[in-house]
Amino acid sequence: MDLVLDEIGKCYGATWVLEQIDLTIEGGQFFSLLGGSGSGKTTLLKSIAGIEKPDKGRLLFNGQDIVNTPMERRPFNTVFQGYALFPHMSVFENVAFGLRVKGVDPGAIRNTVTEMVERVGLSERIHAFPAQLSGGQQQRVAIARVLVCEPKVILLDEPLSALDASLRGQMRRFLKELHRDLGLTFVFVTHDQDEAMSLSDRICILNQGRIEQVDTPDTLYHAPSTTYVAEFIGTNNLIPVTAGGETEFGRVSLEVESNATISIRPEAIGIGAASDALNAAATLVDRQFHGDNTVMTFRTNSGRELTVRRPGRGDAIEIGGQAELSLPRSACTLISEGRAT
């Protein structure tokens, strides 16, 4: 049940919005396509759904090329951004639509739809119209509508972006439970890295129509392979390093073959000099209190800004005050690809 994208490319006019996308989405995974606007994530989802036809490459599902299969015959269903519920149909009719198309008999439709609507917790609103529902309820209808079609893969296009923050948390949990119960493949498009990190088995990070990295959330966070990923996922400090491992703060214990970059997370940086670490004298330029932690920004004597996250209220340093920062060698990750900062 794997979905394989083989050298997929898509261009509008002379610009390639997707270039050489090679990707394998394993059956049953919660897979996210993550990227900013213009990264090509939505175009890629549309290509998988069949809304857009790629200009090159193959799309294999279960070993079969489905690139020329029209969208109505693909074993995938999509939850659209903004849900695209049919405004003139009730919740029941919206959910029943796919079954009616298939020609399922009315009695079976009634049972399946009632059951599915109950499952998403909307039994009481089954005869309501979409305009009479809240955003979260509309979301559930959109999900129920695709689930009754028993797709092999569910595609979700920014499904949480229209909801307010508190509801988004609830829906995240709902989606995760749904995925666990159904064991289906979820392909989830989002621009929100936090959403992707908390939900996914694997994430594909797209940038300007190219894949930057495909990995588990853990690997993406701790071992980004490009500077783009390092900066896109969470906050990071990037420091240039020369061939041989020399940085402005001293030598790192990594094998560096050519000029590259090292990254170190804000929470890994300590205040006060330490052994087996790169030490740097710095001035505090900004501090932001977040309740459970405090983010402090320092400017080193070499002129580089470093972000440091400390638990609780942070260290008692005034803005403009001096401190010695320590960057443990073990926390430094080498990024050999991508632009140097």
């Binding site: 069949g50 049919f86 003139h88 639509f97 198309v101 509508r145």
Partner: protein, 264 residues
């Protein structure tokens, strides 16, 4: 500014009144006799209406107008649907879309005399006789812009994902269009049908060139008016006004709560 505003308001109220004064005059003269420039209030009667009903020519003209209007509505809306869906759903190039809407709007924007004469000349060249069919054709070409503009505006405002969702759930292009897109067009179809009918029912200038020996109601009126201002015409005009008023009210009811419904 202190005095200008009340003055302007007075002008506005007066203008709205003056818009109706001539029509009021017509309605009054259909019920009352006017003698030596004064209305005889005691002379109220429906006489002119009964005379009107006896006039066979009028009945024929009304039927002709309704026939032309009905067919023109059906044809122009079907064509509008064909054109508007093409422009919005088939995604033609900007240039093509511009050319198509330009051609649709052309007969509507040109002075009616030119549209009328063009059709007259063209129909003569392809040897179609003047008459009711020619009038229908002329009306369809003229009113096409109304349905097209209204439907296109609605279609352009639709979420494209509606169509995708239908296809995604397994419906083919026809089913998606009929069950998902078409129901969204009910209101614009109804309002443009009313507008189209009203315009066709009143159209005189283009019709005059194409009608030949027959007559639609406005042509009949035009002919009668050459003999002056008579109570019989006033009665007919009053009836037409009632019909138009009903259409306007229906339109207003359909578009209630939506400002600017009249301009699509």
């Amino acid at each position: 500014m202190k005095l200008t505003r009340p003055a302007l308001n007075a002008i506005a109220v007066l203008t709205i009144f003056v818009l109706y004064a001539p029509i009021l005059m017509v309605v009054l003269t259909s019920f009352f006799t006017v003698r030596r420039g004064e209305i005889d209030w005691a002379s109220f009667s429906f006489d002119w209406y009964t005379k009107l009903l006896a006039n066979e020519g009028i009945g024929t003209a009304v039927l002709a107008s309704l026939k032309v209007g009905g067919i023109a509505v059906a044809l122009s809306l079907s064509l509008s649907l064909l054109f508007a869906t093409y422009i919005t759903l088939a995604r033609p190039s900007r240039l093509e879309a511009g050319a198509i809407s330009g051609l649709i709007f052309l007969p509507f924007l040109l002075p009616p005399i030119i549209t009328g004469m063009s059709l007259l000349v063209a129909l003569k060249d392809v040897e179609i006789e003047r008459g009711i069919n020619a009038v229908i054709l002329g009306h369809v070409v003229f009113v096409l812009a109304i349905g097209f503009r209204t439907l296109q505006a609605r279609l352009a405002a639709l979420d494209p994902a509606l169509l995708w969702a239908a296809r995604d759930l397994g419906a083919g292009p026809w089913r998606s269009f009929l069950q998902v897109i078409l129901p969204q067009l009910k209101l614009p179809l109804a309002t443009s049908a009313i507008m189209t009918l009203a315009i066709s029912f009143d159209e005189t200038m283009i019709t005059l060139f194409l009608v030949g020996d027959g007559a639609t109601l406005p042509i009949r009126l035009y002919g009668m008016m050459r003999y002056g201002f008579t109570p019989e015409i006033s009665a007919l005009v009053t009836l037409v006004l009632v019909f138009t008023g009903l259409l306007t009210a229906l339109m207003a009811w359909l578009t209630r709560g939506r400002a600017g419904g009249f301009t699509g």
